[in-house]
Symmetry: C2
Subunit: 358 residues, 2 copies
């Protein structure tokens, strides 16, 4: 796999592997939707485990190894699905489920605590072929929120369900694993909450100046949201995102992860995107759809479109990043924080995992 | 006010009135953001009261008069704010509050019932100058959800709050009127629920074929969501939307109205949009942001952009419409249903109200 120079954001084609060159030759022809029926695309899979203040100096070797191993495992889970000709959505769900089950990420098992000491999880998924989408917000007893988001997409007439209603739907449909809310307890996240509570005691209540409010938002520990985007052999794109939200979140706050267009978007005509970061800024910029629109209407490359969208979020004052892949297998992983857990894999089956700006 | 020929969707400039011509001359200059500091724009205000199966033959003269009067009242409420040089957001809130207080529309007082016989309201608002936004979903005791959406935008670090949390925030902040849930009882909406419950008894449960599920969605009576978009004299755009959702909605379903990018979007660089219709399709198409993106990246006119977005929703199988206004005061009110309650007013102060395809 060759790497292009010039900047932290990667842009590569998923090359390599026997036969891939021929596939790429057809897929890289100009014009969207140029493929013929039955024609194979190269496939590609890109994931993130959250963006934020992630610095080499603050990471132990053990911890870094744990992240690299889990990201590699998630990439290989997606790869296994894709190399057999499996569906884009299946690869996304396989990798996200695996990250949700790990305490390392702020999603599923490792979800942060709300100010009330509970865990409220959000997730969304989108199918680039049909533009169907599913999202859940504020669920408390679903082991893998990404599987419930998919159930909403595939088995309900709705796109977005919140709270108890989403869980009632899961119960009615079956096939989704319920857990006791205690399942989401992890010592590390609890300590984060305790530290945050201590900090809050020293602060004024929420009704303060805009400046202080912004400060309140910015000093959140933001990293941890997980996501995956995928191009399968049939040329179908999909995207998924899962999160536990912000530590100490209050007031039934919903971030960008379950908002289609903001945290997640996929359209076979352009690209698939999953975001992580200051959710409020990502909602206001409608980041995931913004990237698709810059490609579709503005004729930008995926790399240009993704960089432009992250720059826009940064100008508003938001931090974060995203992973994106287009219909030809180009991918981008831009972020404006000090790090983003991320990785990619193509037909050659070699996982590429990165954490810091490189 | 002159009307252009050729199609149901209107596209006009807010002309007329002493001095307006000069204002328009400056505002219609090519290029976004071409205004100088202190330079006045013409102002314009456009509202909707929902799109759906609204046919002349099924409407009594009394009922039609009631809608026309309330839409006129809402337009004049916005106009009063704007002609004094008031802020875009104030005009939007004034008109939407008035429609929320009327039993005629599916928002506030006239909200439809959920399958549980409750009323759950959603609203959102966006400021095109700052790209700040606020949204609430599933609130049950807030008289005017649009005022709470504005409070979220202006007094919290968040964009979207749902359910009890949103109400707790309202209580903490103050300034928002709480009502007993009984306030939202209206005989007409209750009858709608009863009819719907009868229909449901004859149907299979939700776990049916995709075709049947689609049927379930499509035979909803969709009209009623209210919205407003505005250009004020200072050149600021804003948009707001408020709804009671779908009759018989279940599972904590959230439609497009509180989803920034889908039901509501505003950006001074392009346009302000408020949508109404089959919420799921509007979320999947990210309609409001799609219109802004077609203008900003694709160089389309507001009319072209709005028509293109409605066409896309229609191709997916969704019905509905929207109101939109751009930075120069052009506006559009496209819809693909048989009718949409809608109206516009410009500097000349003459309300123009329409209901059917004309």
């Amino acid at each position: 796999m060759s790497r292009k120079r010039g900047g932290g954001e990667s842009r590569r084609r998923f090359l390599g592997g026997v036969g891939a060159a021929a596939l790429v030759a057809s897929a890289s022809a100009k014009g969207l939707g140029a493929q013929k029926q039955g024609e194979l695309y190269p496939f590609g899979f890109v994931i993130h485990g959250g963006a934020g203040t992630i610095e080499r100096g603050k990471m132990t070797p053990e911890r870094e190894r744990a992240y690299r191993e889990k990201l590699t495992e998630a990439l290989l889970a997606g790869y296994e699905v894709l190399k057999k000709g499996g569906a884009s959505l299946d690869a996304v769900v396989a990798a996200i489920t695996l990250m949700e089950d790990s305490p390392l990420f702020n999603a599923g098992k490792g979800a942060v605590f709300t100010s009330a000491g509970t865990n409220e999880l959000d997730a969304s998924i989108m199918d680039g072929k049909t533009l169907k989408a599913g999202a859940v917000a504020g669920v408390k007893r679903i082991k893998n929120p990404i599987t419930l988001a998919r159930l909403v997409m595939e088995q309900s007439p709705h796109v977005m369900m919140v709270g108890d209603g989403a869980e009632a739907f899961a119960k009615q449909q079956g096939g989704v694993t319920f857990v006791d809310p205690k399942y989401f307890f992890t010592e590390e996240r609890w300590q984060q909450l305790e530290r945050r509570r201590e900090e809050e005691k020293k602060k004024k209540p929420l009704k303060t100046s805009a400046l202080e409010r912004d400060g309140l938002l910015l000093d959140e520990k933001k990293f941890g949201t997980v996501g995956a985007v995928c191009l399968d052999k049939a040329g179908n794109l999909s995207a998924g995102t899962s999160t536990g939200g912000m530590t100490y979140k209050r007031f039934g706050r919903v971030g960008d992860s379950p908002v289609i267009g903001a945290g997640t978007y996929a359209d076979n005509q352009s690209c698939a995107v999953s975001c992580t970061g200051d959710g409020e800024y990502f909602i206001r910029s409608v980041v995931a759809h913004d990237i698709a629109a810059r490609m579709l209407y503005g004729g930008k490359s995926l790399k240009e479109a993704a960089a432009g969208a992250v720059e826009k979020v940064g100008k508003l004052g938001g931090g974060g990043g995203l992973v994106a892949i287009d219909h030809a297998g180009n991918f981008a992983m831009p972020f404006n924080t000090s790090g983003m857990y991320r990785g990619s894999i193509g037909p050659e089956g070699k996982p590429n995992v990165q954490i810091y700006k490189e």
